[in-house]
C-alpha cells in the first residue's frame, strides 16, 4: 500500500457487512415511525459521525447516462455491460504506451480501502467505501513524460448494451479529464471495488476514477482509455453545457450551479424527513487539495 493518505472516516462510519445486508429489513421494520429520524444522523464536518450508506443504496441510486437518465436505470440496465477481458489503452505522452489487460495493470499494486464522501453535482451525496489503487501508481507504471500536463479518460461504448447511447442523451463516448497534479494527488483513486466486493456494473465496473473533492461526474466510470496530453482535454458535460459545467468542477458551496444552489446537499438514505446538510468546501478535502488551486479564482475556474 502507498499509505500516503489516511482515512478520516473509519469503519465505524461504514455499516458492517452483516448489517448492510440486513439494513433493508431493519428499515422496513421500523418504517412506519422510524425511517424518519432513527436511521439517519447526519454531520457536517470531517471526522464527525456520518450516515453510512448501504451497498444497496450505493448500487441502486446512480447516474450512468449510458444506461438511462433515471436514478434506478443503471441498476436495472447495467447488467448488460460486458466487462470480460477488460483492456485499457494508455497512450499519449507516456514511455510505455499500449493496450493493457486490467489484471496486468493492477499487477503488483496493493488495493487499499478509501472511505470517501461522494458529492453529486445534483446536490445529493453518499459515503462510499471504495477499494482501489492510486491513479498515480498506474500512471507511474506507464511512465508519464515530463511535458505531459493533463490526463484524459474515456468510458467504454457498447451501443448494443447501452440504451442511453442509442438515445443520444450525451455525445458518447463519455470523456473526462484532470490536470496532471490532480491526477497524481494521493486522494485520486482508481476503484475496482466497494465494500470489498468487485465494483457493480452500475457503479462503473470494472474500474473507475474517484476524485472525491470534485462533483461526481468527474469520476468517470468503466474506463477504456487514459491519454496523457499537454492540452486541457474535452470533458463530456462541459461540451454539453459549458456555462453549467466547468473543467475543474471542484465541490464548492459558494459557487452555484446556474440552475440550483450547491450550498447544501441531501444525504442519500436519510428518508423522507431528513434535513439537508451543508456542503463542505472541496467536499471536506480542503486540507489535502486546496493548495493545488492557490491563486486561482474558483468562481471563474468552476
Amino acid at each position: 500500500m502507498a499509505y500516503r493518505w489516511t482515512n478520516d472516516l473509519t469503519h465505524a462510519d461504514v455499516t458492517p457487512k452483516a448489517a448492510f445486508l440486513n439494513r433493508r429489513q431493519i428499515l422496513a421494520g421500523t418504517a412506519g415511525l422510524g425511517a424518519i429520524g432513527l436511521v439517519g444522523t447526519s454531520a457536517n464536518a470531517a471526522g464527525e459521525e456520518l450516515t453510512p450508506n448501504t451497498l444497496e443504496e450505493i448500487t441502486s441510486y446512480n447516474n450512468y447516462y449510458e444506461f438511462g437518465t433515471g436514478k434506478s436505470d443503471p441498476a436495472n440496465n447495467a447488467h448488460q455491460l460486458e466487462t470480460a477481458d477488460w483492456k485499457i489503452t494508455i497512450d499519449g505522452m507516456v514511455d510505455n504506451p499500449g493496450e493493457y489487460a486490467l489484471a496486468d495493470l493492477m499487477d503488483g499494486l496493493d488495493i487499499e480501502e478509501r472511505i470517501y464522501r461522494f458529492r453529486c453535482v445534483e446536490a445529493w451525496s453518499m459515503v462510499v467505501p471504495w477499494n482501489g489503487v492510486e491513479l498515480a501508481d498506474i500512471l507511474n507504471k506507464a511512465g508519464v513524460q515530463s511535458d505531459a500536463k493533463y490526463v484524459a479518460f474515456e468510458t467504454v461504448v457498447q451501443p448494443g448494451n447501452m440504451i442511453g447511447v442509442r438515445r443520444g442523451v450525451l455525445d458518447f463516448p463519455y470523456v473526462e479529464g484532470l490536470r496532471l497534479d490532480e491526477a497524481m494527488n494521493p486522494l485520486t483513486l482508481m476503484a475496482t471495488g466497494i465494500y470489498g466486493e468487485p465494483i457493480a456494473n452500475q457503479n462503473g465496473a470494472p474500474i473507475r476514477l474517484v476524485v472525491p473533492w470534485k462533483y461526481g461526474f468527474k469520476s468517470i466510470k468503466s474506463i477504456v482509455r487514459i491519454t496523457l496530453t499537454d492540452e486541457e482535454p474535452d470533458t463530456s458535460w462541459n461540451k454539453t453545457n459549458a456555462r453549467e459545467y466547468g473543467f475543474y468542477s471542484n465541490v464548492n458551496p459558494e459557487v452555484s450551479h446556474p440552475r440550483w444552489s450547491q450550498a447544501s446537499e441531501r444525504v442519500i438514505g436519510g428518508g423522507l424527513f431528513a434535513a439537508r446538510q451543508d456542503t463542505l468546501m472541496f467536499n471536506g478535502y480542503e486540507e489535502e487539495v486546496a493548495s493545488m488551486y492557490d491563486g486561482m479564482d474558483l468562481s471563474e475556474n468552476f
Partner: protein, 201 residues
C-alpha cells in the same frame, strides 16, 4: 362504439377522480416512507407528484379536442381533473418546500434566483384562483363569460409547467420534450385557424 363509451362514462360519477387521485397520492407518500421510491424518496416524490400534475393538466386540456374531434364526452370530469391537478401541484410544491428545501428563506431564495423555479412557482400561483373558483357558486357569481375568461389561464399555466420541466433536466432527455409537444399541440388545436387566416390575408 363512441356512443357506448359515452353511455358508460355517464354512469361513472366525477368524484371518482378525486378518490383515485387522493388514494394514489397517499400511496406514493407511503411508498416514500417505506423505501418503495428508492434511497432518495424526497426527490422521487417531488418528481412523481409533479409529473402526475402535468399529466392531469394535459388530460384536462384534452377534454375539448377529444369531444370535438373524436366525439368522446369527458366534459363532466373536467372540473375534477382540474382540481386534482391543483392538489398534485400543491403536493409537489409542499414536498419541495417543506421536505426538500426546508426553510422559508431558502424557498424564497430559490424562487427568486432559479428561473425554472420562478416559472414553476408562477404557474402554481396562477392555479390558485382557478382552484378557488372551481365551484358552482363562483361560476354564478362571476358569470359564465368572466369565469371562462379567467379559466383560460390554464393555457398559460400548462405552457409554464412544460417549460419548468424542460428547464430542470440535464442532457438531452426526451420526456420533457414530449410533454411540451403534447401541450403545444393541444393548445394549437384551439386556435381559430380561419380567423388567423383572415388576419394574415
Amino acid at each position: 362504439m363512441i356512443d357506448t363509451i359515452n353511455t358508460t362514462l355517464r354512469r361513472i360519477p366525477a368524484w371518482t377522480i378525486y378518490i383515485v387521485g387522493a388514494a394514489w397520492a397517499a400511496w406514493l407518500f407511503y411508498l416514500g416512507l417505506t423505501g418503495g421510491l428508492g434511497p432518495e424518496p424526497i426527490n422521487a416524490l417531488e418528481r412523481e407528484y409533479g409529473a402526475l400534475g402535468l399529466k392531469l393538466l394535459i388530460a384536462g386540456l384534452a377534454v375539448t379536442p377529444l369531444r370535438r374531434y373524436a366525439g368522446l364526452n369527458l366534459l363532466k370530469f373536467r372540473r375534477a381533473l382540474g382540481v386534482t391537478t391543483f392538489f398534485y401541484i400543491l403536493a409537489h410544491f409542499m414536498v419541495w418546500a417543506l421536505l426538500d428545501v426546508g426553510t422559508f428563506a431558502r424557498v424564497w431564495e430559490e424562487v427568486v434566483k432559479r428561473p425554472y423555479v420562478t416559472v414553476g412557482m408562477a404557474s402554481f400561483a396562477m392555479m390558485i384562483p382557478l382552484a378557488i373558483t372551481s365551484n358552482n357558486m363562483s361560476l354564478r357569481k362571476l358569470g359564465g363569460a368572466a369565469w371562462r375568461k379567467l379559466h383560460k389561464l390554464t393555457y398559460l399555466i400548462a405552457i409554464l409547467g412544460g417549460v419548468h420541466y424542460l428547464w430542470l433536466v440535464k442532457g438531452f432527455q426526451i420526456e420533457p420534450i414530449i410533454y411540451m409537444a403534447v401541450i403545444l399541440a393541444l393548445l394549437a388545436g384551439r386556435l381559430k385557424w380561419n380567423r388567423l387566416k383572415v388576419a394574415f390575408a
